[in-house]
């Protein structure tokens, strides 16, 4: 019997010991990683703001986007918000979005564009330096862009560089790196030759995919971007420490050419991937910036410390024009006019979003200084009578006595479900049509939509660069983003002109025509525009949140 007691005792001791040893191991790990980044917080223990504030430093506490680990800090690989938001503050491209969200000088101090709009010559700043002290040279851009276009790199962002001559060929394996139209004329001069004139090329260059890579560092260590102690940047901040899946700490970069403009001493990026938790941390003062949990939207949205800004993107529904009954334009239009977007925005999606009566969200400025949305106006409205009439006409055209069954598909998610159910309801009320709802797990859904297996399905679009063509181009014949079966030579031509026309006013005219045509054909129904809604603690100011692009802490301040 004593044996048993002994056994029980030893089991308990063993368990406690094991628990303690793992505790110690975890402790040493963090200590090690900290000692490699001299002068960081004293261990992870209690690294709260009290300590840092005591030192009189300005430290901003953020959550990294939705609170996840960046995919990669290799500018060519991290094609998502979680990677590019922090990266946009660690590095800088030739151009950088300024306080008016327009492409202004970055590493390039000035540039010349040839008359035909094909050749860009960038003059790099003499004082642009890497965080290790190396000068930023033209070769760093050549290296980075060819790295992005190398098929073996398998960059998801590579298509953004197809505006450059020879880029698409190299990326698809038909050309070679030498044929890509980017050359270092001398240390501080970079020449870029485009495939076609591209009026918004300077804006495309603000995208993190076009950031330079210190080629000396990268040639020595291809994994330079994986850890904080090997990371070399050229932006307003340096990566002081990176505890994967836990936290990143940025510090002001003294080597940055415009370091005087940078007010923050440090920025903490946490990775709290739970909306409620990050809000509770905001409440308790552990975070300076947070997002509003969906269920608290009604309570918080009108608060004083809420920032609401436009965000270049659209939620919409695609018709599959290869499936009945949506081969018929009038039937497609009928569905579009049967939707009360105002109600969806205000009562279903909430959070201050705007209903979409066109495809291009507000915030795109035409060469004449107007907003593209205002110029093109409302292209669709809520009009149940017109909807019914269009449905009637469409059915007659097709010789339908009753509509073929319609299934509306969305990817699984609370908000998607709420919107889909509202649409279902609106179609019954305003069209007398009953659609069946179906939801699919996201990746399954994406495959089915890509393969044109869905009849009527949800979609979203987020802009990669600041030009309407970014969205409109999706619907050219056989585009990977088309996903509707739509094909029109007239539309394809409008888009080609909308991309390559050198006269900017004429180019925007083509884009305006293209959007109108898209609305007339109604191969997709716009529902609402996206927006940016964040809570900012008192005293936080100067964070630039561009409608298109990634947020910028260069001018951010905290009282």
């Amino acid at each position: 019997m004593k044996k048993f007691l002994l056994l029980l005792l030893s089991m308990v001791i063993a368990v406690v010991l094991v628990a303690c040893t793992t505790g110690e191991e975890a402790g040493t790990e963090t200590e090690e990683s900290d000692s490699t980044n001299e002068g960081t917080e004293e261990g992870t223990e209690g690294s709260t703001e009290k300590q840092s504030d005591a030192a009189g430093e300005k430290v901003l506490y953020l959550n990294n986007g939705i609170g996840i680990e960046p995919t990669s800090f290799d500018p060519s690989i991290g094609f998502d918000q979680a990677s590019w938001e922090p990266l946009n503050n660690l590095m800088e491209g030739l151009t950088r979005l300024d306080q008016d969200s327009e492409a202004g000088p970055g590493v390039a101090e000035k540039w010349d564009v040839s008359e035909d709009g094909l050749t860009y010559t960038f003059h790099l700043r003499e004082d642009a330096k890497w965080s290790n002290g190396d000068p930023v040279v033209a070769e760093d851009f050549v290296f980075a862009w060819k790295h992005m276009l190398d098929p073996n790199t398998a960059s998801s962002a590579a298509f953004l560089a197809y505006f450059i001559k020879g880029a698409e060929e190299y990326n698809s394996g038909d050309g070679s790196a030498d044929e890509v139209g980017v050359t270092a004329v001398d240390e501080k001069t970079l020449e870029v030759v485009l495939a076609q004139p591209t009026g918004f090329f300077l804006d495309v260059l603000t995208n993190p995919a076009f950031f330079p890579i210190n080629h000396k560092v990268a040639e020595e260590n291809p994994d330079w971007h994986a850890e904080a102690d090997t990371f070399v940047g050229n932006g307003p901040f340096i990566l002081e420490s990176w505890d994967h899946d836990v936290e990143m700490i940025f510090a002001k970069n003294p080597e940055y050419w415009d370091a005087d403009a940078v007010k923050l001493d440090k920025v903490h990026f946490s990775m709290i991937n739970d909306t409620n938790t990050q809000y509770q941390m905001f409440e308790s003062g552990d975070l300076d910036v947070a997002v509003i949990p969906p269920e608290m939207s009604d309570q918080l949205i009108d608060g004083e410390n809420v920032f609401i800004g436009p965000y270049g993107g659209l939620e919409f529904y695609r018709f599959n024009t290869t499936m009945e009954p949506f081969q018929n334009k009038k039937i497609r239009q009928a569905f579009a006019y049967a939707i009360n977007r105002e109600d969806i925005a205000e009562f279903v999606v909430k959070n201050g979003v705007e209903p979409a009566y066109g495809f291009i969200s507000p915030g795109f400025t035409t060469p004449t200084g107007e907003d593209f949305r205002d110029v093109n106006g409302d292209l669709v409205s809520f009009d149940p009578d017109l909807a019914k009439q269009l449905l009637q006409e469409g059915m007659e055209e097709e010789g339908y006595d009753e509509l073929p069954p319609i299934t509306l598909t969305y990817s699984t998610g609370d908000l998607n479900k709420a919107v889909a159910e509202t649409l279902q309801d609106m179609f019954i009320q305003n069209l007398d049509v009953e659609v069946t709802l179906e939801n699919q797990e996201w990746s399954v859904f994406a495959d089915a939509q890509q393969n044109l297996e869905l009849q009527f399905s949800r979609s979203s679009f987020i802009n990669d660069y600041n030009d309407p063509v970014n969205f409109l181009e999706s619907f050219v014949t056989d585009s990977y983003m088309n996903r509707t079966g739509f094909s029109s030579e007239e539309y394809d031509e409008l888009i080609t002109n909308g991309k390559t026309e050198t006269d900017e006013e004429a180019r925007w005219e083509y884009l305006s025509e293209a959007e109108k045509m898209l609305a007339d054909e109604m191969i997709a129904i716009p529902i609402r525009y996206y927006n940016t809604v964040v809570l900012e603690a008192d005293g936080v100011s100067g964070i630039l949140r561009h409608p298109v692009g990634y947020f910028d802490l260069k001018y951010a301040d905290k009282e």
Binding site: S72, V246, D274, S284, D447, Q450
Partner: protein, 310 residues
């Protein structure tokens, strides 16, 4: 004992191979790709990505590549975090999940058994009702609700503990409480019911008749037998809790490995799916093996080598 262990080991390998093969089959039969994105893309980019991760190879080749990577314990880089290998992810996440899990298990076992014993001894008394009422609550309140409640009350309203993250002992209190309550309640109920059964056995009456102290009877004679069902559930419980729990780790922003189980599947991150599956299976097999050994120690009537390899 050695023969038994070897036999179990062999069976473990076969089991693992079957699990790996089924997982592979499931992975390729589920539609979707790790490169599906709601951002812009095109055919060339997709083709480059597939070639980069060997996903353009025939399934058989992919299967062989997987087996090879598993045999060498090198699952390769994660597709969604290409700078990290699956081994990095598991090596970083597991110690944290293990730490949280171990503390949770210790708390759950000690408090659960104690509650169970007292309820059984004071059967139908006020302590029994209180403890069992508590246990019913513990089983029926999902841990994520308890977690949010604990954070709101103890962290936000009264600022006794930090809201989230995994840094100091005080950060551990809330997640351990949230995670331990469920298993504790189960253990308490199990202990109580088996204790009640055991306490009516003849040998207990015999021990009482001999005049042994109630304390001795409870601990030495009754509890030992009452522990058998608890040990039975410990195998699965240990494997489940020690390898991380998705929801609790997410709520408290604990960088454990729980999220890899769920997210890798949503993201079709094939190497991570394989890595977590193999890891979890191997761990579960090990725990069940340990449980079998503990059986033999608790109850000499169970002879391992006779029924070995069942």
């Amino acid at each position: 004992m050695l023969r038994y262990t070897l036999k179990r080991l062999l069976i473990a390998f076969i089991t693992l191979w079957i699990i790996i093969s089924i997982t592979f089959l499931l992975m390729i039969s589920v539609p979707g790709s790790p490169f599906n994105t709601d951002k812009t893309s095109n055919e060339t980019v997709q083709a480059n990505l597939e070639a980069h991760y060997n996903l353009d190879e025939p399934y058989f080749i992919q299967y062989v590549l997987y087996l090879k990577s598993i045999a060498t314990f090198d699952f390769g880089p994660s597709i969604k975090q290409p700078n990290q290998t699956v081994n990095d992810l598991l090596g970083r996440g597991f110690p944290i999940s293990f730490e949280l899990g171990m503390i949770t298990i210790v708390v759950a076992v000690i408090s659960g058994i104690t509650l169970g014993i007292f309820s059984a001894l004071k059967h139908n008394g006020i302590i029994d009702y209180l403890a069992m009422g508590f246990a019913v609550l513990g089983i029926s309140i999902p841990n994520f609700i308890l977690a949010t409640l604990l954070i709101q009350k103890l962290a936000v309203d009264y600022s006794i503990f930090p809201v989230a993250t995994w840094a100091s002992p005080s950060h551990m209190v809330l997640p351990v409480l949230a995670l331990a309550t469920g298993p504790m309640a189960i253990i308490a109920r199990l202990t109580r019911s088996t204790m009640l059964e055991v306490l009516t056995q003849d040998y207990i009456k015999m021990a009482r008749a001999k005049g042994l102290s109630p304390w001795k009877i409870t601990i030495k004679h009754a509890l030992r037998n009452a522990l058998m069902p608890v040990v039975t559930i410990m195998g699965t419980l240990l494997a489940a809790i020690l390898t991380g729990t998705f929801v609790i780790e997410q709520i408290f922003a604990i960088p454990g490995m729980g999220k890899y189980f769920v997210e890798s599947i949503n993201q079709r991150d094939y190497p991570v799916i394989m890595g977590t599956t193999v890891f979890y299976s191997a761990f579960l097999i090990l725990m069940l093996f340990l449980v079998d050994i503990v059986y033999g120690l608790l109850d000499p009537r169970i002879k391992l080598h006779k029924k070995g390899g069942k």
